[in-house]
C-alpha cells in the first residue's frame, strides 16, 4: 500500500479473474452544506474532460477498451460521504492490449481535468446535471421498500449527519450555481482524502507510475488522515413514528442500538447475534415471522457497522403492525435470554463463514470488504474473521446481544381519507 499526501493506493492482486478494476474514491464528512455539491460534482465530472470532452467521447473510449464499464458512485458510510468513479475491464493479457494504462489516464482526466469553459464547468453540463440530480432525489420514494429504510434513518438519526441523504437535498440543490460548484471543487481537491483500490492483475511498475501521476496532478501537500473514526449511536427510550404513503403493503422498520463498533472485540459476537436473530433463513425472524406465522415474505435483520446499530424490517399486511412488531422484539428477547438452539447457533456461524469465504470469488466484493475495513479501523483479515467466528461461544453471543436496545420503530402505512 502506498500512503502519501492524503492519498492511499491499495493493490489487491488476484490472478483468478479475467477482470481488472480501478476505483478512485473521495472520502469526506457527510454534511448538509457539501453533500449535494459532492453528488452533483460527480455527475458534472462524468460529462467530459480535457481528453474526452463529452460523455459520448468517454463512452466511445470505453467501448474501444473492450467494453470497459465506468460507474460513478456516491454513498454514505456512517458520517462519511464516499464518492468517486470505478472502472472494470478485461485484464490486458486477455485482450492483448494495454488498456490498463489507457483507463488510468481516463480516470485521472475525468476526475482532475474537467472540461472547463471560461474557468467554470460547461454551463449546459451543469444545468442538465442539476436537473437530473433533482429528478433522482425525487425518485428516491419510488421504491417504497427502500424508501421506508431511508425514512427510518431520517427519524432515528434526526439532527445527526447520518440522517442526510447521500445525494443531498432539494433546497440546497435549488440554490447551487456553477460558480459555487466550481469553487467547491477547487477547495475539495486541496483537502479531500482519496482512496484508490486496484484489483486484479497490475505490474508494480504501473502502480508506481499511477501513484506518482496522482500525486503530481494534485499539487498539494497534506496529511493522510485516519478514516476510521466512527461515532457510536447511543440508546434512548423507544420512539415510534408512522407515516402515510400510497402503499398496498405496510413496511415495518425497527432500528436498534448495539453499542458495538467493528474495532471492539464484541463485534464478531454481534455479527453472530444478527445471524441468529434475522440474518438469513436459519434465523428466528425467518423461521417465526415468515414460516410459522405467515406474516411476511421478507423479515430480516442487518447490522450497520459504521454506526453500531442494527435494523429489522418486514413487509406486512397493514393490519398486522402491532403483532409483527411484538413478534420481532420477542425474537430478540429470546436471543438475549440465551434461547438459542444448537441448529440456530451452528447454522448462523456457517452462513457467515460461507459469505466470508465467497468474498474472494468476487473482485468487487473483496475490494469493498477491505475498503470498509479501512473506514472502520478493523484489522481482521477474512481468514482471521472466519477463525474467530468458528471459535465463538454461545455465552459471548448472549452477553453482546444483551446490549441491543430498540431505538426507533418506523411504519409506512396506506393513505387514509382526509379528515375534516
Amino acid at each position: 500500500m502506498f500512503e502519501n499526501n492524503g492519498c492511499r493506493v491499495m493493490l489487491f492482486e488476484n490472478k483468478k479473474f479475467k477482470t481488472n478494476s480501478i476505483s478512485i474514491s473521495m472520502v469526506s464528512e457527510l454534511q448538509k452544506e457539501t453533500a449535494t455539491q459532492n453528488a452533483l460534482l460527480l455527475e458534472v465530472l462524468g460529462r467530459g474532460c480535457e481528453l474526452f470532452s463529452t460523455s459520448k467521447e468517454i463512452s466511445v473510449e470505453l467501448e474501444e477498451c473492450f467494453g470497459a464499464n465506468l460507474a460513478s458512485n456516491v454513498d454514505k458510510h456512517g458520517d462519511k460521504q464516499v464518492f468517486g468513479f470505478s472502472v472494470s475491464y478485461p485484464a490486458d493479457e486477455f485482450v492483448n492490449a494495454n488498456i490498463t494504462k489507457r483507463l488510468m489516464t481516463l480516470m485521472l482526466n475525468v476526475i482532475f481535468k474537467p472540461n472547463l469553459r471560461e474557468g467554470l464547468f460547461v454551463e449546459d453540463f451543469f444545468n442538465q446535471e442539476k436537473e437530473n440530480l433533482r429528478q433522482e432525489i425525487e425518485g428516491l420514494k419510488d421504491d417504497k421498500k427502500d424508501y421506508a429504510h431511508d425514512r427510518l434513518l431520517n427519524c432515528m438519526f434526526e439532527g445527526e449527519p447520518y440522517s442526510l441523504c447521500e445525494l443531498g437535498d432539494l433546497d440546497t440543490l435549488e440554490k447551487l450555481t456553477n460558480q459555487d460548484l466550481y469553487r467547491h471543487y477547487k477547495q475539495l481537491l486541496k483537502s479531500v482524502q482519496i482512496v484508490v483500490l486496484l484489483s486484479g492483475r497490475f505490474s508494480n511498475k504501473i502502480v508506481e507510475e499511477f501513484s506518482v501521476n496522482l500525486n503530481d496532478i494534485l499539487e498539494r501537500d497534506i496529511e493522510t488522515q485516519d478514516l476510521g473514526k466512527l461515532a457510536l449511536k447511543t440508546p434512548r427510550e423507544i420512539f415510534e413514528k408512522t407515516e402515510e404513503f400510497d402503499v398496498t403493503q405496510g413496511k415495518l422498520e425497527i432500528g436498534f442500538t448495539t453499542e458495538t463498533l467493528p474495532s471492539s472485540p464484541d463485534f464478531i459476537p454481534l455479527v453472530v447475534t444478527n445471524a441468529i436473530f434475522g440474518g438469513g433463513m436459519q434465523s428466528k425472524l425467518f423461521t417465526v415471522v415468515r414460516e410459522q406465522e405467515s406474516l411476511a415474505y421478507y423479515a430480516v435483520s442487518a447490522i450497520d457497522k459504521f454506526k453500531g446499530v442494527m435494523f429489522a424490517y418486514a413487509g406486512i399486511d397493514l393490519q398486522h403492525k402491532q403483532k409483527a412488531q411484538e413478534l420481532i422484539l420477542s425474537q430478540l428477547s429470546k436471543v438475549q435470554n440465551g434461547e438459542i438452539s444448537d441448529f440456530e447457533f451452528s447454522a448462523s456461524k456457517k452462513s457467515i463463514i460461507n459469505s466470508l469465504r465467497a468474498l474472494g470469488d468476487s473482485l468487487l466484493a473483496e475490494q469493498s470488504f477491505y475498503f470498509n475495513q479501512l473506514l472502520t479501523k478493523s484489522k481482521l483479515s477474512i481468514e482471521e474473521m472466519i477463525s474467530e467466528i468458528s471459535e465463538i461461544k454461545i455465552e459471548e453471543v448472549v452477553r453482546v446481544a444483551k446490549k441491543i436496545k430498540p431505538h426507533t420503530v418506523y411504519f409506512m402505512t396506506e393513505k387514509t381519507g382526509v379528515a375534516l
Binding site: K18, F66, G67, G139, E291, A296, Y298, N354, A358, S362
Partner: protein
C-alpha cells in the same frame, strides 16, 4: 470427445471446459469446471412457468386449467418436506439455496463454499419429492399474499406488466407470475400434485453445476439419483391462447406514486419461428442493434440526453422464447412521445442509409470484452448458462457466435424486427 460416460468439450478461447450427459429418461446435465474458484453452484429447473396454466399430456388428454400463480406457489411449497424444511437442511450445511419462477421456467439453486456433495444430494432429492398437506398449503398463502403486495408497491415491476398488457390481449404472459390473492385462494394440494406430476418429469428438466469440482463425482451422484429414475418421457401439450401479431394497445397510460414519468416501448414479434442457434444469433443481433441505435456512445443517446429528454436511465432488452417475443426500451422522461418519435426517426434513417461499420465493430468489440468478463462469476455464469441451455444453446457457443455476426445480418434484422405496426408505448405518470 467421450470421456467415460459423459462428454467433455474444451473451449480454449475462453480457457474453460464443459461436461455434459443426457440420460435415458430424457434428463440433461451440464457441468462447467471453474478451477481456482471457492464458490460452487448448482441449479435444476423445469420448463414450467406462470404461462403454463392450461395443459394436457400424452397420459391425460383432457385439457385442464389451473389457478394463476400455481407454478410459483409450487416453487415455494417444494421446500417443505415430510419431516423437515429443505431450507434448514441447506442452512445446516452452510449452503445458500434459492429459487425463482419466470413466465416459462422454474429453477432451484444453491451456492456454497463447502459440503457441496451433501447439498447437491438435497437439491436432487427435494425437487422430485413434494410433500403437500392442506395445512402447509394454507399456511403458504399468507406469505405469498405479502409477496404479491410487495410487488404491487414496486413501480418497476408494475410498469413492466403494464407494458406486457399493451403487447398481449389474451396470452397468459399478461398475468402476474405470483397470481393474485383471489387466484391463489383456489390452490389446493391436489392441484399442486397434478402440476408437479406433469411438469417435473425428468425429461422436462435440466441441471447445471459450476465450480472447482470433480466431474466423476458430479456425474456419479446424478446417475445415482435423478439420472437413473425410471420414468417415461411425458409429452406436454401447453394450451396457450393465440394472440394477434400486432400489439393489443398502441398506447396506454398508468398512474403510480413515482417522482418522474417513465416509459416502456417496444416491438412485438411472432414467436416460435426460430430455434436453437438461429434463435441465439437473432438475439445477439437485436441486442447489438439496440447498442448501435441508442447505446451510450450513440448520437441519439447524446441528443436525447442533451435535450433533457432522458436522464441517464434508458435501457433495452429483447425476449425471444417459444411462446412470446418482443423488445423493450425503458427509461424516465418528461416527454415519452418525443423520445419515441426520435427513436423511430433514427431507425427509419438507419433503414434508409444502412449501418455504420465503424460503430458496428466498436459495439461488437465492447460486447465481446463483457462476455469474457462474465466468466468471472461462478454463480451468474452458471445461471446464464442454465437460461440459455433450455433453448438448446450453450453459452460458450453463444459467445463464439459473435464472431459470425456480420453487418449485413444486422441490416436484415433491422428491417425485420423494427416494424412500426408492431410498436407500442406505455406511459407511467406520477399521481
Amino acid at each position: 470427445m467421450i470421456s467415460g460416460q459423459f462428454s467433455k468439450i474444451d473451449y480454449p478461447s475462453f480457457g474453460e471446459t464443459l461436461f455434459h450427459k443426457k440420460y435415458s429418461n430424457g434428463f440433461s446435465a451440464y457441468f462447467i469446471k471453474k478451477k481456482g474458484f471457492t464458490k460452487m453452484f448448482a441449479t435444476i429447473g423445469t420448463r414450467y412457468g406462470s404461462i403454463d396454466n392450461c395443459f394436457s399430456t400424452s397420459e391425460e388428454t383432457t385439457p385442464i386449467c389451473v389457478p394463476d400463480g400455481i407454478a410459483h406457489f409450487l416453487e415455494h411449497k417444494l421446500f417443505e418436506q415430510k419431516d423437515s424444511n429443505v431450507l434448514q437442511k441447506f442452512a445446516a450445511l452452510g449452503a445458500n439455496p434459492n429459487a425463482y419462477t419466470s413466465f416459462d421456467r422454474t429453477a432451484y439453486h444453491f451456492t456454497c463454499t463447502e459440503n457441496f456433495y451433501e447439498s447437491f444430494d438435497i437439491l436432487l432429492e427435494y425437487v422430485r419429492n413434494p410433500y403437500f398437506t392442506d395445512d402447509n398449503v394454507e399456511k403458504e398463502k399468507g406469505i405469498i399474499a405479502q409477496e404479491i403486495d410487495m410487488y404491487l408497491d414496486n413501480p418497476d415491476w408494475m410498469g413492466y406488466f403494464c407494458f406486457l398488457r399493451n403487447l398481449y390481449q389474451n396470452h397468459p404472459i399478461r398475468l402476474e407470475i405470483a397470481g393474485s390473492k383471489e387466484s391463489i385462494a383456489k390452490i389446493d394440494k391436489e392441484l399442486l400434485y397434478k402440476c408437479h406430476n406433469t411438469f417435473y418429469n425428468p425429461s422436462n428438466m435440466i441441471l447445471v453445476v459450476a465450480g472447482d469440482l470433480e466431474e466423476d463425482l458430479v456425474f456419479s451422484q446424478i446417475a445415482k439419483t435423478i439420472g437413473s429414475e425410471e420414468s417415461a418421457p411425458l409429452k406436454i401439450n401447453r394450451i396457450i391462447e393465440k394472440d394477434s401479431e400486432v400489439p393489443f394497445l398502441k398506447i396506454s397510460k398508468h398512474k403510480f406514486d413515482v417522482g418522474m414519468p417513465r416509459f416502456l416501448a417496444g416491438y412485438k414479434e411472432s414467436a416460435g419461428v426460430v430455434f436453437g442457434m438461429d434463435r441465439a444469433k437473432r438475439e445477439i443481433g437485436i441486442k447489438l442493434l439496440y447498442s448501435m441505435i441508442l447505446g451510450r456512445s450513440s448520437d441519439l443517446y447524446e441528443e436525447l440526453y442533451e435535450e433533457g429528454l432522458i436522464n441517464g436511465t434508458i435501457s433495452s432488452e429483447y425476449m425471444l422464447e417459444d411462446d412470446f417475443s418482443f423488445s423493450c426500451i425503458s427509461g424516465d422522461s418528461i416527454d415519452a412521445e418525443k423520445v419515441v418519435g426520435k427513436i423511430l426517426q433514427k431507425i427509419a434513417m438507419l433503414k434508409k442509409n444502412g449501418l455504420d461499420n465503424e460503430v458496428f465493430q466498436r459495439v461488437l468489440k465492447a460486447r465481446k470484452g463483457r462476455n469474457l468478463r462474465s466468466l468471472d462469476s461462478v454463480e451468474s455464469f452458471g445461471g446464464s448458462f442454465f437460461k440459455l441451455i433450455f433453448n438448446d444453446c450453450n453459452l460458450f457457443e453463444y459467445f463464439e457466435l459473435y464472431d459470425k455476426i456480420t453487418i449485413e445480418y444486422l441490416e436484415e434484422l433491422l428491417n425485420n424486427h423494427f416494424d412500426e405496426s408492431k410498436f407500442t408505448l406505455t406511459k407511467i405518470e406520477p399521481l
